[in-house]
Subunit: 356 residues, 2 copies
């Protein structure tokens, strides 16, 4: 099987980590019978400055017509308001209907200091406040701006369904390798704020409850948690959680919180998943403070490559990458500066490649 | 001076901690020349079940006409949707125009394991998604619900101004007692998500920037942080932060996150502050799991009493309470179960009273 992968480095350290993602795909053992071809695509703030658009049509069209999946690096947010600029990754998620943003957060055997964390945040990726329908009016007391938070039954249903499927798949992996996880049963925690937003978050909550009540999910323990308590609990007992499903904005916030628990955003991958398409994307940003120094942590990208492969139906290739990355972290010899080490991006990558 | 205080225990452990709040007011040394009178007021889910409204008009009217301040316990959120029920504390904040929700989070000398945390979250308390303007339509693919997120220049300006004033006041206290804090300069961190919500959160950001650029705030170091990064940073380096100002919902989420850092929600107070009025409110909820056992931690309420007194212009009385509470925590002999101890609400209260 040959997979064609779009490479969208974006801005800042995106340009340093996406090449590492390409390298690991090229280095996968031939026994997997997987081949890759690549196409470089533009997006980001620099693209905006050059061309007036942060997400050229060509990028979207090429992804749609030619590609099986893609890797997205990071984009810089301008530090002051720039007319006409709008985040290309948010737009891409909507244009390709990549409705699930999947963000696993996990300690490795060697890196956990006490509590083994092994959870995944399944974030709705197309609506909520991210519909970006805003308006501003000039009133007697100054400006008043409004934004729409939209929650649909359809999007809530499909995100909850994929959360349930992920919970079952994770349990399958645990069953196949007993003793590797603290979870004994699949669990999904529904996050919302329906005590204030009874209609929007109320709809998310009810729809998630209904979706997860399906017969095929009968082995899943379903709980819910109000978003503020969820952040509290996530910090107090992260080891308790398995799959957390959340509307877009809460998912955004929760995944950064969870990343803090495992030490660095530089470790946390994500995949933007739609039907038959997936974009791997490290959770970190463009990191202007370390840009160009060759010291960005490539782990989040390497894990995002694995996650993309999982959703493209290649779990064995994904498992190879996860195992190599975990071994690098457990040995802790080649770690990038965000992890307290002094290895370069290239050295971390080489160490992982050697373990493939 | 005599202050009349409304007591609104609400539901669950609210009924166990609010009496402790009353007791500490009554026990303040007479040298402070402060007297208190009290009026008991209803609100909450049980009130709703009895009367059909969670916030009776009488409660609002009595607060407006008779009271100088109030203490609010906690309310239960129904576990399924209940027609007509709506959170009384959210309504009270709006009806009394208590536009600032002030939530200090602080380790005591004895309780910090390494990093001394001393920050305060200043949360806008009247708008954002809490305007609760929602609607639901039935579309071809099922229900679609929408909520309005409203951000006004006026509310953003006044919350940023009070955040600046709090930063200066905190610096004044630090200057008077050098060596008690890790902060050397007042700092305000503006939290928003203007990279996605350019108009609403953009307006909050710009207005906060403008308000904090006022001459009287020239000694304040002003920074900003996107809300997801803010949660990440809050976990990674909480000791860095001084005053964090945020729109309503982000403030709600951030304050629970910060509470997790100091060990228990049972320690964290809040005050709902308007012009000339303040309601002290522990950050924890009604805690149905421990209700009726007499083991709720009263510290959050005692600190909320102090915070209320600060905003009613009685900093000396407030300081007495803070000092007594800190001494209880530092000695760590009478701690409630949430803190790993086995003292009852009454025992913790008695220990604090003895130190007044
Ligand atoms: C850059 C930003 C628009 C984006 C988001 O909010 O989704 C980022 O925080 C993320 O989590 O991917
Ligand atoms: C109970 C709920 C409505 C409330 C809020 O969201 O403001 C609570 O979480 C708080 O922080 O006081």
């Amino acid at each position: 099987r040959t997979l064609r992968i779009g490479l969208i480095p974006g801005d800042g350290i995106g340009r340093e980590v996406i090449p590492a993602g390409r390298r690991i795909l090229e280095a996968l053992p031939s026994s997997l019978n997987l081949n890759f071809s690549f196409v470089n695509l533009d997006a980001g703030f620099e693209t905006f400055q050059k061309t007036g658009t942060a997400l050229p049509d060509k990028t979207v069209e090429t992804l749609k017509k030619e590609c099986d999946g893609a890797l997205f690096g990071a984009v810089s947010s301008p530090s002051t308001k720039v007319a006409g600029y709008s985040s290309p990754i948010v737009a891409l998620r909507k244009k390709l209907d990549l409705y699930a943003n999947v963000r696993p957060v996990k300690t490795t055997a060697g890196s956990s200091n006490g509590k083994p964390i092994d959870l995944v945040i399944v974030r709705e990726n197309t609506e909520d406040l991210y519909v970006k329908e805003e308006r501003t009016v000039e009133g007697p007391n100054g400006k008043v701006a409004e934004a729409i938070k939209r929650i649909s039954e359809r999007a809530s249903h499909r995100i909850s369904t994929i959360a349930g499927e992920i919970a079952l798949r994770r349990q399958g992996i645990r069953d196949a390798a007993p003793g590797t996880s603290s979870h004994s049963q699949p669990m999904v925690t529904i996050t919302h704020k329906s005590n204030v937003l009874s209609q929007t978050d109320g709809l998310f909550r009810e729809t998630a409850r209904a979706a997860l009540a399906a017969e095929k999910f009968s082995s899943i323990h379903v709980e819910e948690q109000i978003v503020d308590s969820m952040v509290y609990k996530l910090f107090r007992q992260p080891e308790y959680y398995d799959v957390i499903v959340a509307p877009n904005l809460y998912g955004d916030i929760l995944s950064d919180g969870a990343a803090a628990l495992v030490g660095s955003l530089g470790l946390v991958p994500s995949a933007n998943v739609g039907d038959g398409f997936a974009i791997g994307e490290p959770c970190h940003g463009s990191a202007p403070d370390i840009e160009g120094q060759g010291i960005a942590n490539p782990i989040a990208t390497l894990r995002s490559v694995a996650l993309m492969l999982e959703f493209l139906g290649e779990p064995n290739a994904a498992a190879k990458i996860y195992t190599a990355v975990d071994a690098n972290l457990d040995e802790a010899k080649f770690l990038s500066p965000d992890m307290g080490g002094n290895a370069t991006t290239q050295q971390v990558l080489d160490d992982v490649l050697k373990r493939l």
